[in-house]
Every structure is written in structure tokens, then in C-alpha cells.
């Protein structure tokens, strides 16, 4: 088989083409949003947010039945936004330490989700789809939701770029400039929540965190400004998706896992060869 044929064969199938478009969009979107997750040390919160969506998806699953995958998206979106606002409120009101509070919400919601799904016969198969995604089953309708909601998220990040930058780098400056810091904090949480909801079908909630932080962190190692970190991260995220889908197609590996493993490989390369922070550079100097 020639290289061209090897490269083009998978995408002769419409479901593979849809998977490609969806995962490239999700890979790019997650890296841009994930840049803030990385820089603000919100990795645990991002992970918790993804897992807390499960009970919402479960309720949607019970209400609308197995066939209706569109309904599930709205349930996931609603739950993600509600949880993000709740977590934002908890971490503001600190009687308990923030990460402990997030951990309790996260574990509790996740357990509730499993409990709900376990009432349905044959639940294990469906649970696996929620946990690890099923990008090969993405419909055109799903692709359009990613375009619409992902586009809205990116537009807001572009519009409030300088405000998000200040709130993330120097919250005190934000106060002296009289910026509405809580507004931007909550807005960022909601943007992460929307990103999680639209990305769920591709990598699943179990590997969501990897998509948020791995390409963004690789980009962090390779760049020196936030805007270029987002751009390089988006390219790496999209590239991981493409390469992951090939691995999935030719070696029969679960697509979500394959995408994440490729992004980890990119991360290791960045860690070794980063011009300013890399391991090799340190060895040479």
C-alpha cells in the first residue's frame, strides 16, 4: 500500500471523516481553554468538572432513552455549567479548603452518576462510552454543536483576552484597575464547562483532563507568550487528534486513548527539546 493510500484510506469512511473533524476541533479548543487551566493551576478542578457531568448525562440517558444522543448533550452542557458555578461558589466561600471541597463534590457527583446508570440493564457498555468517549460514533449534528459552542468559547476568549490575562497573572492589578474579577472568574469556569460538554463525545470524561492540559503544557514549554502558547497548543492538540485516529484505525486502539497517548508523546518531546526549559538544554549548559 502506498503512503498516500495509507493516509487516505481511513477517511474514505464518512464516520471516520466526521471523527476527524470533531476531534481536530476539540483538540484545538481544549488546548486554548486548557492554557488557562494550566497557568491558573486548575487541573484538579478541570478533572472534577468533567467527572461531575456524569449524573447529568445519566439522568438524560434515563429520561430520553438510549437512542437519543442529542438530548444527552444538552443534559451534559446544563450539568457542566451548573457544577462550574457551584464549584466557583464553594471555592469562594472557603470554610473547607478549596481542593477538599472540589474533591467531595467531584466524588459525590461521580458516584451519583454511576448509581443512576447502574439501574439500567447492560449499563457497563454505556458507562464505557461516557467514560472514554466514542469519537467514531459522532454525528454531523455533534460536529455542528462543537462548531457553534466551541466558536462561542473562542470568541469570548478573544474578546476578553487582556482581562483574562490580568486576572490570571496578577489578581491584585485586576483589583486596582477595578476590573470585575469575580465576573471573569465565573466566566472562565463556564467556558471550561462548555468546553468539557462539547468535548465529551470525543475523549470521554475520563480522559478529558488530558486534552485540557497536555497540549497546552507542551506549548507552554515551547513558547514565551500566552497568545503563542494557545496557538501552538491548538496545533499540537489537533495534530494529536489526527495521529491518534490513524493509530486507532490501523491498530484497533480505542480512539480517545490513542489521541491522548499521542499528545503525551508530544509532551515528552517538548520536555526534552524545549529551547528555554527543556531537559537537553539544561544538560548542555
Amino acid at each position: 500500500m502506498s503512503l498516500v493510500a495509507w493516509l487516505s484510506t481511513p477517511f474514505g469512511y464518512p464516520f471516520m471523516l466526521r471523527a476527524l473533524i470533531a476531534s481536530v476541533l476539540v483538540g484545538g479548543l481544549c488546548a486554548v481553554v486548557g492554557s488557562y487551566v494550566v497557568l491558573r493551576s486548575m487541573a484538579f478542578l478541570g478533572d472534577a468538572l468533567a467527572h461531575s457531568v456524569l449524573p447529568g448525562v445519566a439522568v438524560g440517558f434515563l429520561v430520553s432513552g438510549r437512542g437519543d444522543r442529542h438530548g444527552l448533550f444538552w443534559w451534559a452542557l446544563g450539568t457542566a455549567v451548573a457544577v462550574s458555578l457551584g464549584v466557583g461558589w464553594i471555592s469562594n466561600k472557603g470554610r473547607i479548603k478549596e481542593d477538599t471541597a472540589i474533591g467531595i463534590v467531584f466524588a459525590g457527583m461521580f458516584a451519583l452518576g454511576i448509581a443512576l446508570i447502574s439501574t439500567v440493564r447492560g449499563f457497563a457498555v454505556d458507562l464505557v462510552h461516557f467514560l472514554f468517549g466514542n469519537v467514531l460514533g459522532v454525528s454531523m449534528w455533534h460536529v455542528w454543536t462543537i462548531v457553534a459552542f466551541g466558536g462561542a468559547v473562542l470568541l469570548l476568549i478573544a474578546l476578553f483576552y487582556k482581562e483574562f490575562l490580568i486576572v490570571s497573572f496578577d489578581p491584585t492589578l485586576a483589583v486596582t484597575l477595578r476590573l470585575p474579577t469575580s465576573f471573569y472568574r465565573y466566566l472562565l469556569l463556564v467556558l471550561i464547562a462548555v468546553t468539557v460538554a462539547v468535548s465529551l463525545q470525543t475523549v470521554g470524561l475520563g480522559l478529558m483532563l488530558a486534552m485540557l492540559i497536555t497540549p497546552a503544557t507542551s506549548a507552554y514549554l515551547l513558547t514565551r507568550r500566552l497568545s503563542s502558547m494557545m496557538l501552538v497548543g491548538a496545533v499540537l492538540g489537533a495534530a494529536s487528534s489526527v495521529a491518534g485516529l490513524y493509530l486507532s484505525f490501523y491498530f484497533g486502539i480505542a480512539s480517545g486513548a490513542a489521541i491522548v497517548l499521542v499528545s503525551i508523546a508530544f509532551f515528552l518531546l517538548a520536555l526534552l527539546f524545549s529551547p528555554s526549559r527543556g531537559v537537553l538544554r539544561r544538560l548542555v549548559h
Partner: protein
């Protein structure tokens, strides 16, 4: 919105408490535009607390703060230079990016910086002698350069009141003098600097506020640095001695009744 005849900063009976324990108690002082105030005192005296209350980060539990005759809310003419240890130096921004952040208050939401903003930033960088490092990531800066970058940001912000928390901590003598020379050159700016080194307070500032939870002394350095006020601030016997090389702080070991 500024009243021109009002003092730049008027603080009356300011008390700030954490969990019902006062960190700062009944502090009053007044500064005119362009005056430079050193806020001195031992560790835990409330120096940082005072600065944070003035910025609006900590709410006063009693007393009042007036900036140019008005309450501090709504003013964007205050710049706060954080302690160097409070900054994430690995954040992916360049020196120029950080200085540009100062323009955000003037720009307002949804507007991008224009040519005039770029020029203001370049000029601010020139005035602290950092143009050569404008494009460098902030983790490459030395301690003195870090302080100068934040001063440039305050200039770009067009701040009229600049608060600095321990800007000289951990700086070598050369970098310290560079920062001091820049601060001496800020003429229209009312400056409040929390610091440890009483000789710097005496030689570069026209007002000193000596804190030990309450205001132990406020006035010119020679009014404040008397053996009695120093003793009530620091507990032990500190003395300022005038020498040919400036003022020296001497710990008087022969002093009786030392705590």
C-alpha cells in the same frame, strides 16, 4: 473626579482586622501630591496590611481612606507593586506584555491597545531603562529588573499613587541604587513604600510612618527617628547615627531595660 485642593491621601483612624484580631489599629496620616512616604516597622507591624487596605484588597473594619478627596472605590489611579515572591515568574508573558497590562484600565473592555498605548509603554520602558529587555520573558529578569518592570507598569497606568511592598528585599546594592534613582525621579507621583531598611527611609523619603500595629510615629525622618519612637516600634534600642556616608542604624547594646 479629583478634588485638586484635597490631599492625595487622607487616612483617618484606619483599623483592619483578621478574624476580630486587629492587624492595624487606628492609623492616621495625610500625604500631599508628590510626597514620598516610607512605611517602616518590624515584621508583622502591618506594613503590607496598610498597603492592601489602601488598594482595596482588604476592607477596613473602622476608619476611612480618602484619595484626592474621594473614597477609594472607582479610582484607577493607584498602582500596587507586589512583593517579588508573590508573582508567578514562570507565567508566559514578556516584559512588554506586563507593562501593557497597565493600559487596560484606560482602555476599558473589548478594546485593543492602539499606537498611542504602544508609545506610552515604550516610553515607560525607556524611563526605567528596560527597552533592551522588552521582548524577553519575565523569568529572565534579575531582581532589580523585576522591580523596574513594575514601576514601568505603574507609569504606563498613569498612576498618581504608587504603593510598593518591600521593593528592596533581596536586592544587591547596585540594583537597589538603580531602583532608588528611578523612584527619586518620579516627581508627580505620591509614593508609599513598605521597607525594612531605615537608612533608605531616612535618605530617600520626605515622610516616614513607623508602624507597630498602630502608628508609632509619622513625620519627617528626623522627627520620627528618635530613640524613643524607635524603641516603641522595635522594642529594643535602635539609634540612627549620622556619619559621612549617610545615616546608620546602630543597635545600642548598652541600653538597659532591653526587651
Amino acid at each position: 473626579m479629583h478634588q485638586t485642593d484635597a490631599p492625595a491621601l487622607l487616612v483617618r483612624d484606619l483599623t483592619v482586622s483578621f478574624k476580630a484580631r486587629p492587624a492595624l489599629s487606628k492609623v492616621s496620616f495625610e500625604l500631599r501630591r508628590g510626597q514620598k512616604l516610607a512605611v517602616a516597622g518590624p515584621n508583622g507591624a502591618g506594613k503590607s496590611t496598610l498597603l492592601k487596605a489602601l488598594v482595596g484588597l482588604l476592607p477596613p473594619s473602622r476608619g476611612s481612606i480618602e484619595i484626592h478627596g474621594h473614597a477609594p472605590q472607582g479610582h484607577i489611579c493607584i498602582a500596587y507593586v507586589p512583593q517579588r515572591t508573590d508573582v508567578d515568574w514562570r507565567f508566559p508573558v514578556t516584559v512588554r506584555d506586563v507593562v501593557m497590562m497597565g493600559r487596560t484600565g484606560r482602555l476599558g473592555p473589548l478594546r485593543r491597545p492602539g499606537i498611542a498605548d504602544q508609545q506610552t509603554v515604550s516610553q515607560a520602558l525607556r524611563s526605567v531603562n528596560l527597552e533592551a529587555l522588552a521582548g524577553h520573558p519575565i523569568h529572565e529578569l534579575s531582581g532589580g529588573q523585576q522591580q523596574r518592570m513594575f514601576i514601568a507598569r505603574a507609569i504606563a497606568q498613569e498612576a498618581e499613587i504608587v504603593l510598593m511592598d518591600e521593593p528592596f528585599a533581596g536586592l544587591d546594592v547596585h540594583s537597589r541604587d538603580e531602583v532608588l534613582a528611578i523612584l527619586d525621579g518620579l516627581h508627580d507621583v505620591t509614593l508609599l513604600v513598605a521597607l525594612h531598611d531605615l537608612s533608605i527611609a531616612a535618605s530617600h523619603f520626605d515622610r516616614v510612618l513607623l508602624l507597630n500595629q498602630n502608628a508609632v510615629g509619622f513625620g519627617t525622618p528626623s522627627e520620627v527617628f528618635t530613640p524613643d519612637t524607635l524603641k516603641s516600634a522595635y522594642g529594643s534600642c535602635l539609634r540612627m547615627v549620622k556619619t559621612d556616608e549617610g545615616l546608620l542604624v546602630v543597635h545600642d547594646t548598652s541600653c538597659t531595660g532591653e526587651t
